[in-house]
């Protein structure tokens, strides 16, 4: 298992601070690097991948610096955001070239295995310039995986993929993560992360705004009420009972159901079944309506 360590990493361009004093340790499993566009995700990823020197701080992979050290690429794979491939090559040639450059013992077998992994066998002998965006992305992932790296960094890997390809890519990342590899991907689209990964590192304006399980992060931010959409057999009676509950700060009744604002996430979710049971009301639906990463972002930005 390999560990990617960042200690007090900053990067600035002139007066602009792109990454500001970030420390994190990435171990095995899938981690999402989240943040709105321009938060510094790509800059951070490039520093991790040895394509940018930190202005301050250190980035190490198993205690070796990634900057000016090509040896780290034996254990590290990178799928950059720029959709750049040698379009005049076929996917097989492209992945095979990667395998050869890694000086693998059996490059042909490694190339076939990597192409298999991303399900590109049927198109492997076509020029990459004829591929769709998602297929190109998979060809690039295959090239990055050909030497079976312990650490795989992906910059916006789901861009341009259709839902089926996205699902397949997520499964692939999870398989790799479950096998003990360290997978980090960046994204500004929240639904991608909610399905892939519970562990997130949230970047806002160059800083690490939060890290950990994103639902936990949301729960920790108790300074704002949590909003739930509730539907039941008797919404009005449930609203009356809920407003007497200390953890509930507001209830709104509308034709589609109840919108409940709760100050304390845990207390409310424990209280609701008890209240419903006492009043003989059946709860049909309970949805935390703001538990998307979008709202996590906006809380963090406002904070």
């Amino acid at each position: 298992m390999s560990t990617l360590n960042l200690t007090g990493v900053s990067r600035w361009y002139g007066n602009v601070v792109a990454v500001n004093d970030i420390s994190m340790a990435l171990g095995s499993g899938v981690t999402g690097l989240l943040g709105p566009n321009g938060a510094g995700k790509t800059t951070l990823l490039h520093m991790m991948a040895g394509f940018l020197a930190p202005s301050r701080g250190t980035v190490t992979l198993d205690d070796q610096p990634t900057w000016r050290n090509p040896e780290v690429y034996r254990r590290l794979g990178l799928v950059s955001e720029r959709e750049a491939v040698q379009g005049f090559l076929t996917a097989y040639e492209f992945v095979l070239a990667s395998a050869k450059l890694h000086r693998l013992a059996d490059p042909a077998a490694a190339a076939r295995r990597a192409i298999d992994l991303v399900e590109l066998e049927s198109a492997q002998d076509r020029r990459i310039s004829t591929y769709s965006k998602g297929m190109r992305q998979r060809a690039r992932v295959a090239a990055a995986l050909v030497h079976d790296p312990q650490v795989l960094l992906l910059d916006e890997p789901f861009n341009g993929m259709d839902p089926r390809q996205r699902l397949h890519m997520m499964q692939l990342l999870h398989t790799l993560g479950d096998a003990g590899r360290t997978i980090l991907f960046s994204s500004h689209i929240l639904e991608e992360v909610e399905q892939v990964s519970g562990t997130v590192q949230v970047m806002v304006a160059g800083r690490l705004a939060a890290s950990g399980d994103f639902r936990t992060i949301r729960r920790l931010m108790t300074n704002r009420p949590h909003v739930f959409a509730v539907r039941s057999t008797d919404d009005r009676a449930l609203a009356v009972a809920l407003i007497g509950e200390p953890s509930v700060s507001g209830v709104e009744l509308d034709p589609s159901g109840l919108t409940v604002r709760a100050g304390d996430y845990g207390a409310f979710t424990r209280a609701l079944p008890r209240i419903a049971l006492n009043k003989g009301i059946r709860v049909r639906q309970l949805v935390p309506s703001d538990e998307s990463l979008e709202s996590v972002f906006s809380y963090l930005v406002e904070a």
Binding site: A18, T42, T43, L52, A84, F88, L101, A144
Partner: protein, 236 residues
């Protein structure tokens, strides 16, 4: 053939800008054949075609197109990342690319200038010009390859060097000739085949040493720059 050489060659011949190379050597060849067939005195057309066109324009411009293309084109479109994310010492990337650039440039220029030299004077002049042009191709390629790593506008800077420094300033400020690859090539060719057609302005030892220095120095610079190659983020 190494994988880098293979990808570089395929990238070079696969791009349309490679077609830009064809007209210049053809013009050189065509002019030499035309002058010879019209019976013009070589003393009249030799210097203009061999030096004025062949060594002062065709060689540096072909070297510029290829030299800035072997790595610069990959940097421009981002494919260089695929090569850089490999556990290869950076000299193993720069040297094959330099070999391709110098080799293709030398082949593209040496053949027409050899023919032009033969038509103007003798086989000996043709061989001397071809050999000196090949050495010049190496020096120019090293320079332009390094330029593509030092600046984002290698073609522009390369053109300034070729047209302004070597072409224009060389005529007015004689000191600039000491730092002119074109003058080294002329001096070397003139030494190998002394004729009245070439006019050397720098000494042969200086030309030899400087050609070697330029080739080695800029190759070293390119390797070192590639070690610290930074990919600009979206924020920059």
């Amino acid at each position: 053939m190494s994988t880098i050489t293979w990808i570089t060659a395929r990238g070079l011949f696969g791009r349309r800008r490679f077609l830009l190379l064809l007209p210049l050597p053809l013009v050189l060849l065509g002019l030499a054949v035309l002058c010879r067939s019209l019976g013009v005195d070589p003393g009249q057309w030799g210097p203009a075609v061999l030096v004025g066109l062949g060594l002062a324009v065709v060689l540096p411009v072909v070297a510029l197109i290829i030299g800035t293309g072997v790595l610069g084109a990959e940097i421009d479109d981002g494919t260089v990342v695929h090569i850089l994310t490999k556990p290869l010492p950076r000299w193993q990337i720069v040297l094959p690319k330099l070999a391709v650039a110098a080799g293709v440039t030398a082949a593209t220029v040496a053949v027409p200038i050899y023919v032009a030299g033969v038509l103007a004077d003798s086989v000996r002049l043709g061989l001397a010009l071809a050999f000196a042009a090949a050495l010049g191709a190496l020096a120019y390629s090293a320079l332009f390859l390094a330029l593509s790593l030092v600046t984002r506008r290698p073609v522009l800077l390369g053109l300034v060097y070729v047209l302004i420094w070597e072409g224009l300033l060389g005529n007015f400020v004689s000191g600039t000739k000491v730092l002119s690859i074109q003058q080294y090539v002329i001096a070397l060719a003139d030494r190998l085949a002394p004729t009245g057609l070439l006019e050397a302005t720098v000494s042969v030892p200086l030309a030899s040493v400087m050609t070697a220095l330029v080739s080695v120095g800029f190759t070293g610079l390119a390797i070192n720059r590639l070690r610290s190659f930074s990919v600009a983020g979206e924020t920059s």
